[in-house]
């Protein structure tokens, strides 16, 4: 016979000093998830300028003066946007790598190393993010 009991809120953030690696992985996964869905709504909003560009003057598209091209290139010319893009990359890479870790946990693969795979996700995220900085910051100045 199975028994159920109320164990209360798992996320009692007041006890953060007692959190294990798995708990931190779970919190980071949620935090990055919130960031990514928030970004997706913003992303589609910005890309919606394509509707105006498609309905506008075809000559503007040829001259690259349509609202879609000027909006994206205008945003990309801002230093802060490039910094935020590097942040987005870090958030996405961590979510992907920790997501792979979660899929393996669900399949029961390497459960005894789940804490080590969290640390590996963090280190790999750091390496990939730093390695991408030159590409992301190309052609922009403060």
């Amino acid at each position: 016979m199975s028994q159920s009991y109320n164990r209360g809120l798992i996320e009692d953030f007041g006890r953060w000093k007692e959190f294990s690696a798995g708990m931190w992985a779970w919190i980071f996964h949620k935090f990055t998830g919130w960031m990514l869905i928030g970004y997706l709504f913003t992303h589609i909003a910005v890309l919606s300028t394509a509707i105006g560009a498609a309905a506008g003057d075809p000559a503007a598209i040829q001259q690259e003066t349509d609202v879609y091209t000027t909006t994206i290139q205008g945003l990309e010319s801002l230093f802060i946007i490039r910094v935020l893009e590097v942040g987005l990359l870090a958030v996405a890479v961590f979510h992907i790598l920790n997501g792979l870790r979660l899929l393996m946990v669900d399949l029961g693969v390497g459960l005894s190393a789940q804490d080590k795979s969290f640390y590996a996700s963090l280190v790999l995220t750091g390496i990939i993010t730093i390695a991408s900085v030159p590409t992301f910051m190309d052609g922009v100045a403060i």
């Binding site: 798992i10 779970w26 998830g33 990514l36 290139q73 792979l100 979660l102 991408s132």
Partner: protein, 121 residues
């Protein structure tokens, strides 16, 4: 395992779809980042360049599936995180309705954008 820390009830449809979309998103999100930051630099994006990519039916379908999978995964993730925080009763139903509507609106807007990008409007 004595305990498992997850925002999801194991074995449910939401749980399974969350994992299926995750596996798809891992591949397509990585492709998307490479395509638009390393192959094509984001600062050099133009409407004409976007159209050249989007009018390819295979790319268009991939991007629309990416949008649907991403929206479902994100909205379902937020919903389950809130339920896990103790959301119940009427509040739970209202949150589900609001998130569902937001998700459907985002997918509809995104498809409209993709069609405009492809030049099919």
């Amino acid at each position: 395992m004595a305990e498992h820390y997850s925002s999801f009830t194991r074995g449910g449809t939401g749980w399974l779809l969350q994992r299926i979309t995750a596996a798809f998103l891992i591949v397509v999100l990585a492709f998307h980042f490479f395509q638009l930051h390393f192959v094509n630099h984001a600062a050099d994006v133009t409407f004409a360049g976007t159209q050249a990519r989007m009018e390819n039916v295979g790319y268009f379908v991939t991007m629309v599936l990416f949008l649907i999978a991403g929206t479902f995964h994100g909205v379902n993730g937020v919903y389950n995180a809130l339920v896990n925080q103790g959301l119940e009763g009427t509040q739970k139903k209202v949150v589900l309705a609001v998130l569902s509507l937001a998700g459907i609106a985002l997918i509809a807007q995104g498809i409209w954008v993709a069609v405009a990008m492809a030049g099919w409007t």
